[in-house]
Structure formats: structure tokens, C-alpha cells
């Protein structure tokens, strides 16, 4: 029997011109793992909320949603709460109580479960999710990934048959995201929980999924197994840019046969279709050397006197007008390095120079005037006003004039509340606000976090526009695909020191583990192919392998 079935659901928010969902019909069998993707604002969240009785949006709607054959709205309150689990995007805000064990108990308490049963379930779930060590902790002391695992566990403890997840990994770093998804897959296999997962970072998800649903402007535009859907998906569909690299490469070169979903698929089925007479693309002309905008020389930093060094002997420089991406694992000291350059923290040894002048010599907050600004990871903390226009005029009355060269049309955003913007729009509005202080060096902390592929592209265009105007950008990121496509140079930070630094092509083709999917796919066959565009260009130059039979 179908676990979840949508039948001809059409819905519109009051006072909206067009419906948010248009004639959506599909059904999921028990134990199916389905991924729902689509651009931001296409109605994914609304669709998920319709399946969760307690969160049903206040829309006028027609059509039905049923769970195990019964309309969702006719379910008894406790059944609906326990049988259908919902995990949202923001790890922090979903947590209710101030202890991990209490958070786990919360759902069962609401159902009036007995003490002894709750005790048993907590012990079981803590052991299943490997969270025994943090049971007595305060959730705010956990990492983002741990918080999201806690949210998943506190839903799973009620033994739901259906799990709805709204971009649960958007705020996590790639490692934590992969761990979360693996856990999800394990739940799906071990307990045959039906899963409907809305997601736009699809690289790791698609190979796990049984079903792929694609939404486009409120309607379901495709539904089927991932391979089926991806073979038929139009080249220029908005979701294409977010697909895993093997899929994009397959489509870009017009590969034949089955669509590869993972790196190993692509190495097995796609690459042998092409010859390798030309092994390498010509090296692009090197960027002319310019004066350094930011130099770190033997910088050491620690947060507490008795703590350990977060940065130890960090030495590198960023040239004026370049886009430098600093990558590395969690706790490698990336954000700390930015905070030092922004003057928020102070190194205990070593020198940092900004445009040739030592950072301590910028007195009376002059460092932040027409010189350096830091755009923090959580861009919401940049906004203080009720509209974007107020936000901008706060810093500069004549903001329209100052921003006339800003490489993005801000007009549609101006009357909106900053919190109502999408993630990508928030990033760009924050960038615009930051540009009003006329910085020559801009430090960005994880600007692509939580963005879908299109917003990411939009952001990249704005960043390139800024470097063209001579602004220097130092970007800290976990997003290696972004770094490979857009950086002038990349640096790898580990244990507080810079391990290597080079142009993306050389940098990623010399890395073995910390590198792009394309680089891992083409390794040994082509040299220096790190982006989909590189590989596609090489494969097209080479042409198909002639099979002599």
C-alpha cells in the first residue's frame, strides 16, 4: 500500500497571484527513498508541509494528500505526530530543550509515554545513533552536524513510518552532510522508513535514492528512478546545474547508454566511450603578478592561553584583485584566519599586513573604512533594519550612486525585509551593504552555504564583477567545486598552516583525496581536468573511441 499519496493537489496562498502547487500527484510505496529537487521557491517546502498535518499551510487547496490510505487531515493527532516525522533546515532552531536527553524525550513526553519506556527508547536510540557521549550535554555545545543528527534522532524516537526532510544538510559542511545522509540511508534500509527528502545539493543524495521527483514552478515536471529521470531531463532545466558532476558531464558530452550517477559509474561506463589522444588542455595564461593585498607572515594564534594553537606559522599572501579560495577541513583555522585579517582577533606572534601596512598600525577603526570588511558566515547578522533599502541608506544616503557599478540589479530586493529574502538574495544584499564601506579587500566566510545551484552561479557572477573592479576577495569555503570553477588561486589549510597553494587546475589535479569529482573521474586518463567544462572540452576534442571489431 502507498505510504504517502498526493492526488491532484493544487494550492495557493491567500493574496498570491499564482498557485504555489499545481496539480501535484504522486505516491510513495513503503520503504521508498525519494528525493525532491527544484530551484529555491518552487514549492518544495509547501509540498512537504502538506504531508505533515500539524504544519499544513494556510492555503486554499483542492485535491488530497493521504497517509497509508487515509487523508492526512483526518488522522488522529497523536498518530499524525508520531507516524510522520519532519526534520527542517536549521539545526539550531528546531531544538526545544536545554539537554540532549530531554530533547530526545520531548516527543514521547508529548504522547504521554511512560517513564520506563522513554528510558529504554533513549538508551536504544542513543546507541543506534552513536550519541551516548553527549546525552547529558547542552545542545548548544554540539556541532552543526551533531545538532542535525539530534533532530533526526528526536523524530525517529517516535518510530515514524514516514520521514519528511526539508533541506536538512543545507547548513552543514560536506563531511557532516555525508554522515547525515548515510544515517538516513541506514534508517531507510534497517526500518524501511519511507523517506521524502527535499534537497538541492544532490551529489551525494542521488546515488542513494530510489525515486527522483523534480519540481518546477509548483508542478511536478519529472518523476521516476534517478537514471530514468536524468536521461530525459532537458539540458537547460533549472535543476540541471545542481546535479552531480557525472550526470552533468554525461549530458554535456552527449554520452550514450545509462546515465552515470557516481564517480565509479562514470569511470566504468562514460570515460571508455572517449579516446585520450589529447591528454591535457592548454594551460591558461597566468594572471599577471600584482602587489599583495593581504600578507600573513608566520602567524600564530590560540583562543586561550593554555589552549592549543589554532593557527601555527600561517604564511601566505593574496594578490590585489584576485579571488583566493581558502579550503580545508573543519577546525583547520579557516574562519580564524579571516577574523585575524578583519581585526576581530589578534595574533600572538607573526605579522599580518593589509596593503603593505601592518594591521596594528590601522588606528581608530580605520581598518574598516574603505579598506577591509568581513562578511560573516551567518549573513543574517549583517542586517539591522526592516527593508533592504533602509539597510543600505543607513550606511550611505546616496547608496544608489555608490552602488551604480554593483554587478547585480538590486531594485526588486529594495522594499523587502532582509529576513524574507532567499539564501542567495540575502548573500547578495549583504554583499551590497558591505560594498558601501568601499572595501578594497573583502573577506567572505562560506558564502555558498545553503545556496542552490542557481543562486550559487548568481553569487559567482557578482564576485567576478567585483574582482573586475579591482576588489580583492579572500573566500573561505568548503565548496571545492565552487573553488575549482571560480578561484584565481586556491590554498589548502590544515592544522593552522597553509599546506599548498596554486591555481585551481594545478591545485586540484595534484590533490588526491581533497579534490573535485571530475578530477577523481578523469584521473589517469586526462591531466588537469578539474571542472565539468574542462572534462567536456577535452572529451569533445578527443572524440569517441573508434571500436575496431
Amino acid at each position: 500500500m502507498a505510504s504517502l499519496a498526493f492526488s491532484h493537489l493544487t494550492a495557493a496562498y491567500p493574496e498570491a497571484q499564482k498557485p504555489v502547487l499545481r496539480d501535484v500527484s504522486f505516491s510513495l510505496e513503503t520503504g521508498e527513498f525519494a528525493v525532491l529537487c527544484g530551484a529555491t521557491g518552487c514549492g518544495k517546502t509547501t509540498l512537504l508541509c502538506f504531508a505533515k498535518r500539524e504544519l499544513t499551510p494556510r492555503c486554499t487547496h483542492s485535491g488530497t494528500v493521504s497517509f497509508c490510505g487515509k487523508p492526512v487531515e483526518s488522522l488522529d493527532a497523536r498518530t499524525a505526530a508520531s507516524q510522520i516525522g519532519f526534520v527542517m533546515q536549521h539545526p539550531e532552531q528546531q531544538i526545544v530543550t536545554d539537554r540532549v536527553w530531554h530533547e530526545l524525550a520531548f516527543g514521547l513526553e508529548n504522547l504521554g509515554t511512560e517513564q520506563a519506556v522513554i528510558r529504554r527508547r533513549i538508551a536504544e536510540i542513543a546507541s543506534y545513533f552513536g550519541m551516548e557521549d553527549w546525552l547529558t550535554k547542552d545542545p548548544s555545545a554540539l556541532s552543526g552536524g551533531q545538532k542535525q543528527i539530534l533532530n533526526l534522532a528526536s523524530v525517529m524516537i517516535m518510530q515514524p513510518a514516514l520521514l519528511l526532510l526539508d533541506e536538512p544538510t543545507a547548513q552543514l559542511d560536506p563531511l557532516a552532510a555525508a554522515e547525515f545522509l548515510t544515517t538516513l540511508q541506514r534508517l531507510n534500509r534497517d526500518f524501511s522508513v519511507t523517506i521524502l527528502l527535499a534537497e538541492h545539493r544532490l551529489g551525494a543524495v542521488i546515488p542513494m535514492a530510489d525515486r527522483l521527483l523534480i519540481m518546477d514552478d509548483g508542478a511536478l515536471s519529472a518523476d521516476g528512478t534517478p537514471r530514468e529521470v536524468l536521461r530525459k531531463l532537458p539540458e537547460h532545466a533549472p535543476v540541471m546545474a545542481g546535479m552531480p558532476a557525472p550526470v552533468r558531464l554525461f549530458r554535456a558530452v552527449g554520452g550514450t547508454g545509462e546515465c552515470p550517477l557516481s564517480v565509479s559509474d562514470a569511470r566504468r561506463t562514460l570515460l571508455p566511450q572517449f579516446s585520450d589522444r589529447v591528454r591535457e588542455l592548454p594551460e591558461p595564461a597566468p594572471r599577471p603578478e600584482t602587489a599583495p593585498a593581504l600578507e600573513y607572515a608566520g602567524v600564530y594564534f590560540r583562543y586561550a592561553r593554555r589552549g592549543s594553537d589554532v593557527l601555527s606559522d600561517l604564511t601566505f599572501s593574496v594578490q590585489t584583485g584576485e579571488l583566493y579560495c581558502l579550503i580545508g577541513g573543519n577546525g583547520a583555522g579557516k574562519s580564524t584566519a579571516l577574523a585575524l585579517a578583519a581585526g576581530v582577533l589578534r595574533a600572538y606572534a607573526g605579522k599580518i599586513r593589509v596593503f603593505g601596512k601592518k594591521i596594528e598600525d590601522y588606528k581608530h577603526r580605520t581598518l574598516h573604512q574603505e579598506c577591509v570588511t568581513l562578511l560573516p558566515q551567518d549573513v543574517q547578522t549583517v542586517f539591522l533594519k526592516n527593508t533592504v533599502a533602509e539597510e543600505l541608506s543607513e550606511l550611505d544616503r546616496d547608496y544608489a550612486q555608490t552602488l551604480r557599478d554593483f554587478p547585480f540589479d538590486l531594485t526588486p530586493l529594495l522594499p523587502m525585509h532582509p529576513y524574507d529574502l532567499s539564501g542567495g538574495q540575502q548573500q547578495i544584499a549583504a554583499l551590497a551593504k558591505v560594498m558601501l564601506t568601499k572595501p578594497r579587500l573583502l573577506l567572505l566566510d562560506e558564502p555558498t552555504k545553503g545556496l542552490d545551484a542557481n543562486s550559487r552561479q548568481m553569487l559567482a557572477d557578482v564576485l567576478h564583477g567585483l574582482t573586475a573592479q579591482g576588489v580583492t576577495l579572500l573566500v573561505v569555503t568548503h565548496d571545492i567545486e565552487f573553488a575549482a570553477e571560480h578561484a584565481d588561486r586556491c590554498g589548502f589549510l590544515s592544522q593552522g598552516a597553509l599546506i599548498s597553494s596554486d591555481t585551481p587546475r594545478r591545485f586540484f589535479s595534484e590533490n588526491v583525496f581533497y579534490t573535485t569529482a571530475v578530477s577523481r573521474m578523469t584521473r589517469g586518463k586526462y591531466d588537469g581536468a578539474v571542472t565539468v567544462a574542462d572534462a567536456a572540452a577535452l572529451m569533445q576534442q578527443n572524440g569517441r573511441e573508434e571500436r575496431l571489431t
Binding site: 528546531q94 539537554r99 574598516h368
Partner: protein, 292 residues
């Protein structure tokens, strides 16, 4: 090894409150002496030589009080000497000393209570009053942490943005006001998500149960029962006036009758209970460990 702190917080709290309250309301020097001695010993057993500052405070302030009382207080008949035309009496000195001991004993008992009780135990105690209040308190604490962190983040990012243009006090205050107002907006947005997460997990679907990590064991019941019985004896004796000293105009001790013996004896046992329990557990542990 188990310790007194691992007993059920409800039993521990009842015991400590009874011990402290009897100290507050009794005016029998021997009982107060016992109370102070037991409290200090237990505190030393648990903490060793640490927290010298607290000892200095808890013993110093009452001592000062005892010395100063005769200077203000002119009651009493036995004049010891005259200072600045004011008579210093033996009765006032005694009264000061006894009140000082009482104050010190109470300070030690409350300090012991606060060291044995963390926030989690406090919530457990609140549940007895109302599970709903305990839940709200737990959420409030969580939100306060969140707000404090967000405030710090906003301030830091505004600083790095150069929002405060000059090193100006007025500018700093204005910045603070703006940050506070945006924090309210953020708190509301944040609250909606939390509320959704709560209803999604069935909050408000009917009668709730209230889970705690603390359990009742036989030993907790014994502690509670013994404490109540001993305190009852003590209170009965105090109510009959068997343990009430008069200091003015002359020191006057009540007769040492059966009630007096019962009262002081019961109190001795009551305030020794934590030490007895620790001692018994230490012995058990020693015996068990010798078998390993």
C-alpha cells in the same frame, strides 16, 4: 562509589532544607554548634582544602558580627567593661556569638545545597511543583543561550563591517539599540521555527508525561523517612520551648529534660546523616575494591 550527591535530589533537598531551617529557628547553642560542626566537616570532606575564600567569608563575617553585636547592643546586666561611655555586656557577647554560629551554619548548609544541586536537579525539583513550569524553564534557558550567542555574533559581524565608524560612545550606544531591536525580530522568526518543531512532535495533543533521569530507590525513601522523623522530633521539642535560650537580661538556659535530650539528639543524627552515608559508602567501597 556512590555519594550523598547521587541520592534522589528530592530527598537530598528535603533533608538539607530541614537541617538548615531548624538551624535558623532554634536558639540552642549546643544544637547550633553541632549544626556548624557537621556542615563544615561535610563540606571539607567533599571539597578538601579548596575554596578558601568561602571559608573566610562564612566564618569571618559571623565572627565579625559576634564581636560587633555588644557594641551596638546595650541589653544585658553583666557589664564586662565600658568603652566610649557604652557598656559592653557578657549577655550581648554571648548572643552575638550564638547568632554568629547560627549564621555560619546556615551559610554552610546552603553552600552544600548549591554544590550538590545543578540545573538539571533543580528542574527535577520544579517538576514536583508543576511539570509545565519546568518545561517552560528548560526552554527559557535554552533560548537565553541562543539569544546571547546571536547577540555576540551580530555585534562581531557589525564590528567587522565597520558599522561603528568612529570610536564614539554615543555611536556605540546607538549600535547597541539597533542590535537589540534586530535581535527581537530574530527571536520571533526563531520562535516560529521552534514552535513548528514542537507541534510537529505532538506538543499539545493531550496529556503529557514528564521524563526525568532521576529515579527513586529504597535508599532515597529511607533518607527521606529518617529525615522527616528526626526533624519532627526536633520540631516537637523546639515547639515545647525545650531548646530556647533567653539572653536578656541574663542568659537563661531551659532545663535539660527529656525533651531537650530528644531534640538535640535528633538534630545531631539529622545533621550527621550526610556524613554517615558517605562513611558507610566509603567502607562499602573499600570492601568491594579489596575484592577486585
Amino acid at each position: 562509589m556512590r555519594s550523598f550527591a547521587d541520592m534522589n535530589p528530592a530527598a537530598v533537598t528535603v533533608h538539607l532544607l530541614l537541617t538548615a531551617c531548624i538551624t535558623i529557628f532554634c536558639m540552642e547553642p549546643l544544637l547550633l554548634g553541632i549544626s556548624l560542626l557537621c556542615a563544615v566537616t561535610f563540606y571539607l570532606v567533599k571539597n578538601g582544602g579548596a575554596n578558601r575564600g568561602f571559608h573566610l567569608f562564612a566564618l569571618g563575617v559571623p565572627a565579625l558580627f559576634a564581636l560587633l553585636n555588644p557594641l551596638w547592643n546595650q541589653h544585658g546586666t553583666t557589664v564586662l567593661f565600658v568603652l566610649n561611655d557604652r557598656a559592653v555586656t557578657a549577655e550581648a557577647l554571648c548572643y552575638g556569638a550564638v547568632t554568629g554560629i547560627r549564621l555560619a551554619a546556615v551559610l554552610y548548609w546552603f553552600r552544600i545545597f548549591s554544590e550538590l544541586t545543578d540545573s538539571e536537579k533543580l528542574f527535577y525539583l520544579f517538576r514536583f511543583l508543576s511539570p509545565r513550569i519546568a518545561m517552560v524553564l528548560s526552554m527559557a534557558i535554552r533560548n537565553l543561550t541562543l539569544y546571547r550567542e546571536q547577540m555576540k555574533k551580530i555585534r562581531q559581524s557589525q564590528k567587522a563591517l565597520g558599522l561603528y565608524r568612529e570610536a564614539h560612545l554615543i555611536d556605540d550606544i546607538r549600535g547597541g539599540v539597533r542590535i537589540f531591536s534586530v535581535l527581537l525580530t530574530w527571536a520571533l522568526e526563531n520562535g516560529i521555527i521552534t514552535a513548528n518543531s514542537m507541534t510537529a512532535r505532538g506538543y499539545g495533543t493531550g496529556r503529557r508525561s514528564s521524563y526525568t533521569t532521576f529515579r527513586w530507590h529504597m535508599r532515597d525513601a529511607v533518607l527521606l523517612g529518617v529525615s522527616l522523623v528526626l526533624a519532627a522530633v526536633c520540631i516537637r521539642s523546639a515547639a515545647a520551648g525545650a531548646m530556647h535560650w533567653e539572653f536578656y537580661p541574663v542568659c537563661d538556659a531551659p532545663p535539660h529534660g527529656l525533651l531537650w535530650f530528644a531534640g538535640v539528639g535528633a538534630y545531631l543524627l539529622l545533621s550527621l546523616l550526610p556524613l554517615i552515608y558517605e562513611g558507610k559508602e566509603a567502607l562499602t567501597w573499600h570492601r568491594l575494591r579489596s575484592r577486585i
